[in-house]
Amino acid sequence: MLNPNQKLNPKLFDKDVEQIPIRKGFGEGLLEAGEKNSDIVGLSADLTESTQMHLFKNKFPERFIEVGIAEQNLASVASGLSAMGKIPFISSFAAFSPGRNWEQIRTTICYNNRPVVLIGSHAGFSDGSDGGTHQALEDIALTRVLPRMTVISPCDSIEARKATLAAAESGGVVYIRLLREKTPVITTTDSPFEIGKAQLYYGEEKAKADVGIVATGSLVYKALKVAENLKKENISAKVLNVATIKPLDIDVLVSLAKTCGAIVTVEEHQIACGFGSAVAEVLSQNFPVPMEFIGVKDQFGQSGTPNELLEYYEIGESHILFAVKKVIGRKN
């Protein structure tokens, strides 16, 4: 059952569950953060409304900088602003930032220790119809490999708003991964969020279960639905929402592995070097258990609706279900 301590959306499993784009939560969060702190500045590379930065731009035009279609400059200008005490937010599609400007992020932001918040929108398959060029399936890998980088992948718009506010106050380099299309609202304003903390959304913390599903981003919703359906088959599952991919919440992950003995990771990203890989790095060293990975298997995307693509690339509910049964079968 849903963990009551998390105060999740009570209508979560209803057919008409409310759906809001995750990026919208960023737009609202940045506006709110900008109202609180006049050091916050916004930089856009010709995708101001797409990334929802227009809310901030309209309210604070004097703190908004349009750099044009120039993501490399976007990253390094932000580094310079940070050097002078500003808290820059830079936004683009994840395919272009951190896709195009990785070295500038590495050297002028991370290596140079200049706190900047990077917003990568339209990640995963959420920019479905635009096709493979625009579908960032590598951004978690690109960001989590960088020293000093915090990586956050919110599960819904409400969590994106909280992540944005927390990033503004973190004093560090943060990457926030956003999706374009509407996705189910999983949490409420009362749901706990803290950078670096994974939250158990389904199951009881201390109790044993047959499997632990560890998900990030909007796929947390699919993981929860799978867990709910597994009840009918007398299979008990726990679902962990890992919003902060780096640094990972090691204690909570190890505790999940200990109480479940088998783990399935779920992400809208390449399996190689992604979120599941990060979880495997932690568990293999601390408490190895059988694992299965749901994610993209060394392929590029293509045009289609996000749900069509998730099915095609085997990231749908049926695939999570299959992986759950497979991993349980691998338990000794």
Binding site: V41, I65, Q72, S76, G80, L81, Q104, T108
Partner: protein, 299 residues
């Protein structure tokens, strides 16, 4: 900035530049690697910056009101370290730790090790962007009448990087009068002469078309350096760029104008050059006699 350059002051600067060049040779020999040509070629510009132009306090490097100097071509950092040491930022004897394990003087500048640096650099082409960001922040905070200037040093070869031109478009758009870029136009890069590797000319026209007030100077003439910076400071409604024509390896005859010395220290076996065991001695001897020669010119 003091513009009234007396002969006495010029003599002082020439002697400082000689000391800085001597340090550069000693540092590179001690390190056994590093970039000779650009470091020697920019010694006069760095001397002018650290002893005349920059509004800074070596005793309080973090003073918020200071001018900012961003080194985009991080590989010539030996000359920056030497200028900093000779102007009082840290002990001159520390220069010999360059490129050694545990040194504050990393092979390419790194703020983690030497926090008084404004930026860490090495990968080329991002310095102007960072300086534009700083200049924008200053204009947000202090408006157009701010008395702080934001200087960026770039190489010429690194202008091959497209990011420079992204940054210059933004500087022109934002009319950043507080931004002054100095280009080390020494015509060499690792693979050869710039005009063979990737032609840059007509460089001044390129900068002008991006909205920059453009100056061309002899980068070894203190009067020209300081006057050009003064004119750039006076340009209120747009960014400025100074193309400083320099001789790579300036002061050491066997290194001058030769791209083979771009990335090598004295003590390197190179065909047609003096024996590697002799190079340091020749270089230091020439630098000391250069000092004498300059002195006689002004007396």
């Amino acid at each position: 900035m003091q513009n009234n350059l007396t002969d006495e002051k010029i003599k002082f600067l020439e002697e400082k530049a000689r000391d800085i060049r001597v340090s550069v040779i000693e540092m590179l020999v001690s390190a056994g690697s590093g970039h000779s040509a650009g470091s020697l070629g920019m010694a006069d510009i760095f001397t002018a910056l650290y002893f005349v132009i920059l509004k800074q306090d070596p005793k309080v490097p973090s003073w918020p009101g200071r001018d900012r100097l961003i080194l985009s071509n991080g590989h010539i950092v030996p000359v920056m370290y030497a200028a900093m040491a000779h102007s009082g930022y840290f002990p001159v004897k520390e220069l010999l730790t360059l490129r050694k394990f545990g040194s504050r003087l990393q092979g390419h500048p790194h703020r983690d090790f030497l926090p008084m640096l404004e930026t860490s650099s090495g990968p080329l082409g991002s310095g102007i962007s960072q300086t534009v960001g700083m200049a924008l922040a200053d204009r947000m905070d202090r408006g157009k009448s701010s008395d702080r200037f934001f200087y960026c040093i770039t190489g010429d070869g690194e202008l091959d990087e497209g990011q420079n031109w992204e940054a210059m478009m933004l500087a022109g758009k934002e009319k950043l009068g507080n931004l002054i870029v100095i280009v080390d136009r020494n015509n060499i890069q690792i693979d050869g002469y710039t005009e063979d590797v990737m032609p840059l000319e007509p460089l001044a026209h390129k900068f002008e078309s991006f909205g920059f007030h453009t100056e061309e100077i002899d980068g070894h003439n203190f009067e020209e350096i300081i006057e050009a910076v003064g004119r750039a400071q006076a340009v209120f409604d747009g960014p400025s760029i100074i193309i400083a024509h320099t001789i790579p390896g300036k002061g050491v005859s066997f290194m001058e104008r030769d791209f083979k010395w771009h990335g090598n220290p004295p003590g390197t076996e190179i065909a047609g050059e003096p024996p590697k065991g002799e190079q340091e001695k020749i270089a230091l001897k020439e630098l000391h006699s250069l000092g004498g020669q300059i002195t006689s010119q002004h007396e």
